[in-house]
């Protein structure tokens, strides 16, 4: 029986605002197993991004616990969390978050830069990924010279270069045209088929419907609270629970 790789236990995250303390996430619990495809769905302001931040160890809960790869976040330093993110989690952002003054190739290898891996290895792996994503011809271009779809594919390559166990994607297709969105989603599905755990946050109901047959769990958030949980595609571990 497999254990969850990420677990949120009754997590609440409060922020101080103009109107006092605001709960961005309240009593949020979730278990994520290897190979899961989790969708966190909800309208803007529902707390999806806060949830992703917490699940990635980029933020700490006000109450409750986050267990990341069997280690409680509250026992980990920022440096420990950074190391976990670098080694085990890949990120895809809504606005791609590519560094405009770096080339496509440099952007892809950036997560590996502060590691002991040789530059030759990094470049070889990045070129392999760029070839798979049909971007090898643009490896020396800068992000501003690419279309939105191409930029997000570069971001996917960057997320995959560390060979992470988990990929977290925050509205990955919100800025893309239909064709580009299709490509990015198919890349995520392929990564999931290859064993990677995907956590996707979106406000796009159509996208959720389209993905439904591939999703292990859909968490719907409203005003920071889980209002529904669906498990369209049950995984083995789910049965074992």
């Amino acid at each position: 029986m497999s254990e969850p790789i990420i677990e949120a236990i009754k997590v609440t995250r409060e922020f101080s605002g103009k109107r006092g303390r605001v709960k961005a996430i309240e009593n949020f619990s979730l278990k994520i197993y290897p190979g899961d495809f989790i969708v966190i769905y909800g309208p803007s302001g529902a707390g999806k991004t806060t949830a992703l931040n917490l699940l990635a160890g980029m933020d700490r809960p006000t109450s409750g616990e986050i267990i990341l790869f069997r280690r409680n976040v509250k026992d980990l330093s920022e440096e420990d969390l950074a190391k976990i993110r670098r080694e085990k989690i890949g990120f895809i952002f809504q606005f791609f978050n590519l560094i405009n003054n770096l080339t496509v190739l440099e952007n892809v290898i950036i997560p590996l830069l502060p590691t002991d891996r040789s530059e030759t290895d990094m470049i070889a792996r990045a070129e392999e990924l760029l070839s798979e994503l049909k971007l090898i011809g643009k490896k020396n271009r800068f992000p501003t010279e690419l279309s939105g779809g191409e930029q997000q594919r570069v971001a996917v390559a960057r997320a995959l270069i560390t060979d992470p166990e988990v990929i977290m994607a925050d509205e990955p297709v919100a800025q893309l045209d239909e064709k580009s969105a299709e490509i990015v989603i198919s890349l995520l599905l392929r990564a999931n088929r290859e064993g990677k755990t995907i956590i996707l946050a979106t406000a796009n109901q159509a996208l959720v419907n389209k993905l439904k047959q591939n999703i292990s769990k859909i968490i719907t958030l409203e005003r920071g609270k889980i209002v529904s949980e669906e498990t369209p595609k049950a995984r083995k571990h789910s049965k074992q629970k």
Partner: protein
């Protein structure tokens, strides 16, 4: 290795952010060039322009022998000692039947700044060398343009012209002293002729140790040479105390210079035949404006560095958050932003210092002095670097990785 790679990436980011980088490189160049130029000018007043800033020069209007100045000098030291940093005396000794005057400078008593002697030497002339270099070692000399010696050999009158690389050998019995000529000056020697009353045509400038050797070993004068009736006093230079900063804050140098002049004017009869010679002086406002410009240049450099550091953080905010989200540890994030900041500061500093050095050497023609470069290294590189590194590294770490998810 990883550090180096990250630092290199920071450097290349700065280089690629062309417009912004060019503007800041230009600003750093301007500030550094201005700093080095003001520092060089200030230090030139402490060295080869020393007399223009701090000197008061006395010359005898009739020939004066060294034995006649002892009492006058002790009175000056007694009355002005608290505001003088040194007294320097230019001595002359005639040789070869009044054909040649050897000239040297020595400090009276124990000078507070013995290193000033060389600048006094160069200031009382030869200031302009037309060939060769200044005296750097004992037994080296500088001659005047047109230097020649007449003598008769085997009943035939002959003239010998000497130039750089030649040597003059002084011999008396078994004593032999060779002085190598290292430079030729274009100086007018008529002033020395008038002061010494000797109709020489040739002058040899030498250091004080060589002068004393010639006087005692070749000319067989009894010591001390500084008080010998055979030695002429050609000039007396009084150098007042004061530093660049004190000149700006209180104007000490200029007050002291005026006090010395007033004293000399009031005691002109007791000091006779000495009288004040006017030299081209630095006027206080000119000097103070240089010091002020220096301070402004340094502050400007620090402000530009501060603005650039803030800009790097503001413009890279999203990138920094993304790198932290992607799992970069704090130390690498710091190196990355510091790399971008430092590269532009370095480029601006190196170009600025190079332009300043070239301008000093070829336009202002100020002799090279290492001290301004050491100061500018601290004021325009290490100080802004420390401030910039401290700010960028702490500001970078205050950006949470969660900002990577934030909307533009």
């Amino acid at each position: 290795m990883a550090y180096f790679r990250v630092l290199k990436k920071g450097f290349s980011l700065a280089i690629r952010a062309r417009g912004r980088s060019i503007i800041f490189v230009i600003l750093f160049i301007l500030a550094t060039t201005s700093t080095i130029l003001q520092l060089s000018r200030i230090y030139s007043y402490e060295t080869h322009d020393l007399l223009r800033l701090k000197g008061v020069v006395l010359e005898p209007h009739t020939p004066m022998r060294a034995d006649a100045i002892k009492e006058k000098l002790s009175r000056i030291v007694n009355d002005l000692g608290d505001i003088l940093s040194g007294i320097y005396i230019v001595y002359g000794l005639n040789l070869l039947d009044d054909q040649l005057l050897i000239i040297s400078v020595n400090a009276y008593g124990q000078p507070k700044f013995p290193e000033n002697i060389k600048w006094v030497v160069s200031e009382f002339k030869p200031t302009t060398l037309i060939q060769g270099r200044y005296i750097e070692n004992p037994r080296e000399g500088i001659v005047n343009k047109g230097f020649h010696l007449n003598f008769t050999a085997y009943g035939t009158p002959m003239t010998v012209h000497l130039t750089v690389g030649d040597s003059i050998v002084f011999q008396a019995g078994y004593e032999v002293l060779r002085v190598k000529i290292v430079g030729i000056t274009s100086s007018d020697i008529s002033g020395f002729k008038k002061v010494s009353g000797i109709p020489f045509e040739s002058v040899l400038f030498i250091d004080w140790s060589t002068f004393k050797e010639i006087a005692t070993d070749i000319k067989n004068l009894p010591g001390p040479i500084e008080e010998s009736p055979q030695v002429y006093v050609l000039r007396i230079i009084l150098v007042v105390k004061g530093s660049a900063l004190s000149a700006l804050l209180k104007g000490d140098i200029f007050n002291y210079r005026e006090r010395v002049k007033e004293y000399l004017d009031a005691n002109i009869h007791t000091l006779s035949p000495l009288s004040i010679v006017s030299v081209e002086e630095i006027i206080p406002s000119e000097y103070q404006s240089i010091v002020l410009l220096l301070i402004v240049s340094i502050i400007f450099q620090i402000i530009v560095a501060g603005i650039y550091a803030i800009l790097v953080i503001r413009l890279r905010r999203k990138d920094i958050a993304t790198l932290r989200a992607l799992g970069w540890e704090s130390k690498y994030v710091k190196v990355f932003v510091v790399g971008e900041f430092l590269s532009i500061l370095f480029i601006g500093f190196i170009l600025g210092i190079t332009i300043g050095a070239l301008y000093d050497a070829f336009i202002l023609r100020i002799p090279f002095n290492i001290i301004p470069y050491i100061i500018v290294l601290f004021s325009n590189l290490l100080l802004p670097m420390t401030i910039g590194i401290k700010y960028t590294s702490s500001a970078a770490l205050s950006i949470p990785p969660s900002e990577a998810f934030r909307r533009e």
